[in-house]
Amino acid sequence: MATTNVRWRNSLEAAQREAREQAKLVLIDLFNPG
C-alpha cells in the first residue's frame, strides 16, 4: 500500500544510517511552528 504520510525522523545520525542502508538521500527540514 502506498505511503500517504511523511514519516519524519528526529535524528540526523539515524536518518543518515537509514539512508546508507537503503541507498536514499536525506531530506532535512528546518521549520518554525509559529
Binding site: 502506498a2 500517504t4 519524519w8 525522523r9 544510517r17 531530506l27 532535512i28 527540514d29 528546518l30
Partner: protein, 151 residues
C-alpha cells in the same frame, strides 16, 4: 509546508522511495540554526548519507515546486557522483517535475542536457539541449550560462 505541502499525497509518495526525511523545530532546537548554517525557515536541505549537500531551498514551496526541488536534488546528486546514466534518467524526470516552473525548469534543462551529453559522450546532445534552453528561456540565468556555446 506542514499545512499544505507535506500532507499532499503525491509529495508523501515521492519522498518515501527516495529520501529519509528528518525534521527539526528551530524553536525547540535553536542549535540547528548553526548546525545547518541557516537562520530562515523553512529551510530544506538534501544531503547524502555522508552529509554531502546537493540542494538547499529557503522559503515556502507549494507541492509542485517542492517536487521540482526534490527532482533537481536527485539529478544534482547523480551528476556530482558522475553517474551520468542515472543523471540522464533523473534529468528527464526533473524536466517533467519542473514543467511550467520558470524558476526551476531552466536549471533542469541545463543539467538534463549535461547529463544526456555525458551519458552518451556526445557533445551534440549538450548543444541541442542548451539551444533549446536558450530559445525557451532566453532571459534565464541558466541560458546566460549556456550562451558561450554560441560564440
Amino acid at each position: 509546508m506542514g499545512a499544505v505541502t507535506y500532507p499532499n499525497p503525491e509529495v508523501a509518495r515521492y519522498i518515501d522511495p527516495h529520501f529519509i526525511p528528518v525534521q527539526f523545530n528551530v524553536v525547540e532546537q535553536p542549535e540547528v540554526i548553526d548546525r545547518f548554517n541557516s537562520a530562515w525557515t523553512p529551510t530544506l536541505i538534501v544531503q547524502d548519507a555522508d552529509g554531502r549537500e546537493y540542494r538547499r531551498s529557503l522559503g515556502y514551496l507549494d507541492p509542485a515546486r517542492f517536487l521540482g526541488e526534490m527532482a533537481l536534488a536527485r539529478l544534482m546528486e547523480s551528476v556530482h557522483r558522475r553517474d551520468f546514466k542515472a543523471a540522464s534518467v533523473r534529468g528527464k524526470e526533473a524536466l517533467e517535475r519542473t514543467k511550467g516552473d520558470a524558476a526551476r525548469e531552466p536549471e533542469a534543462l541545463y543539467f538534463a542536457s549535461v547529463a544526456a551529453y555525458k551519458a552518451a559522450n556526445d557533445a551534440a546532445r549538450l548543444v541541442e539541449g542548451w539551444n533549446g534552453l536558450m530559445n525557451r528561456f532566453p532571459e534565464s540565468d541558466w541560458a546566460k550560462k549556456a550562451e558561450f556555446i554560441r560564440k
